[in-house]
Symmetry: C2
Subunit: 355 residues, 2 copies
Amino acid sequence: MSELRYDPIKQRWVIIASERKLRPREFAVPRQRSEDKHTADGCPFGAGNEHLTPPEILVLPPPPGSNGGRRWQVRVVPNKFPALRVEGEVVREGVGPFDRVSGVGAHEVIIETPDHQREMADLSAAELAVVFTAYRERLLDLRRDSRLRYILIFKNAGREAGASLHHPHSQLIATPIIPTFVVQELNAAQRHYSRKERCVFCDLIRQEQLLGDRIGLETEHYVAVQPFASAFPFETWILPKKHNYDLAQANDDELHGLAVIVRDLLRRLRVLLDDPPYNMVVHTAPSPHPRPGQPSFWSTIEYDFHWHLEIVPRITRIAGFEWGSGYTINPTPPEEASRFLKEADPDGGGHGELP
Amino acid sequence: MSELRYDPIKQRWVIIASERKLRPREFAVPRQRSEDKHTADGCPFGAGNEHLTPPEILVLPPPPGSNGGRRWQVRVVPNKFPALRVEGEVVREGVGPFDRVSGVGAHEVIIETPDHQREMADLSAAELAVVFTAYRERLLDLRRDSRLRYILIFKNAGREAGASLHHPHSQLIATPIIPTFVVQELNAAQRHYSRKERCVFCDLIRQEQLLGDRIGLETEHYVAVQPFASAFPFETWILPKKHNYDLAQANDDELHGLAVIVRDLLRRLRVLLDDPPYNMVVHTAPSPHPRPGQPSFWSTIEYDFHWHLEIVPRITRIAGFEWGSGYTINPTPPEEASRFLKEADPDGGGHGELP
């Protein structure tokens, strides 16, 4: 059984996934081996191999008008090697001076396409909108489970970004604790709102629109900002211009608009950075099951929080300085990254030239 | 000019090192290329190539009795491509809603040996003690600079751990702000002390000695603990048993004792994990130049803090879940790691078998 453990000195939680326990020598292999690129034949996520995954949690059909003739566009299945398990009670206990919580949660895989070789950037906007619809549906479903405090949806693309299977997929991990980084962001938004009665993200969008030099992409309903204190080169936050605290409240049109800008961004990054590994993380409202006796983020969240996606190309490394300080060293000012993104050709393929 | 920037939503600082500015396409290369393994001939850190580095800041001779006949055992030189620069005033300014601090600091390289091929684990304890002496001397010297609030000493070993040069070396980055992670640790130690009049690290050592299952190595004066909430497989904290808040206060005997246990640990990790990339970070007291008008960590630090080294083999990847949550998923419980370390043969070379 996995468990969550808390370090009171570093004030951080970790998941000790002991069911994934390995002998030390086994570690040596994956770090040498390249990402698993089985052919479509052997891929457990591909069309025709549906029997290789655990039973489906959700299946979404291809978008109307697409002529693939496939049964499904997106499938959601439980992770075969879950970090946390759905079964059981959440037990919180002290162990001497330490804290431990049983590893109850959910760990799901969102298979983004039946086609083994089509990256997220290769999907049409209509197809990508189906992926985001799956995100929304899983949020809505899992929020009914009162044991779960947060549902984190993320994507690891490429080996350096943590992907162990090549077939395009996202993941979802739901935890019985709101993760530290999420609490920090929710707290910051709540503090800003309580002082100013304004959403800090709405303020950010307005400020960046005024300055103009850190908005790499903009559509009618979204902005893609390279934030002032970008921790990594080409770090990008995609925010809806209209205030909305929760991705699960987005309607179909809004999800389609999201697909359009994400697709454009990923294609430009592919041209600029030569098909970089990247991570994508959804930042949205927590589950509506507050910790008893504590102020709930839900009391004001509708006003103070603003959902967004964060995308980080993994082209620099986390090293000793970063572990020790919490700082990162970013060699590309966000103003530069924005300029490159504006000028890039999203259809330039993997080897376009920069102006 | 580099600068430090603050993100009020994520409450994190980053260093925007614009002097290292690269065109985006240049990023594509280093992530493919393996760590630079020039021969001793071309290595800027090797014996005979001293003219390839900027002028020396510190030179320490080989330990007494060693028969290498070399002029130096350890050289400290400025980093040729510094993230922060020594020249200039620390300017703190607001930029609209954002905060910015000029990139004043220090960035030095501690060359650990003249021999290109001798990793830290290959040095004798006496030679390694010279490296730690260099750490101490640089801390003492840089603390005289009142612009600097913290001096972080760290080591990146292996490409996956962020090393760009193969020749064994540590680094030092001094910053005009105490880094977030350091502040968190100092705060936690101060809170614990203010409640209990005991050092939290002394408590931790006593607790782990009582239980015994998370101390992989122990010598007369040091313990190597795999902490309860280890974020990574084989994460290890090396702590002096005798309370001491500051590595810069350690005497020669204590530095030699540190060298003995660090060397033993690195050799066991090499056997167990097949020569893993790793990071090492020194956690010690901040510089004695408190922020005006704020309570100083120095008021109680002699009692509440306890210097230590943290060593993290880099055998798992940081992926989307970690970026989004601040959690890590650790597949090796620390109790397992301790058992493996106890049983490993430090002289087993790179390919010993486990019991």
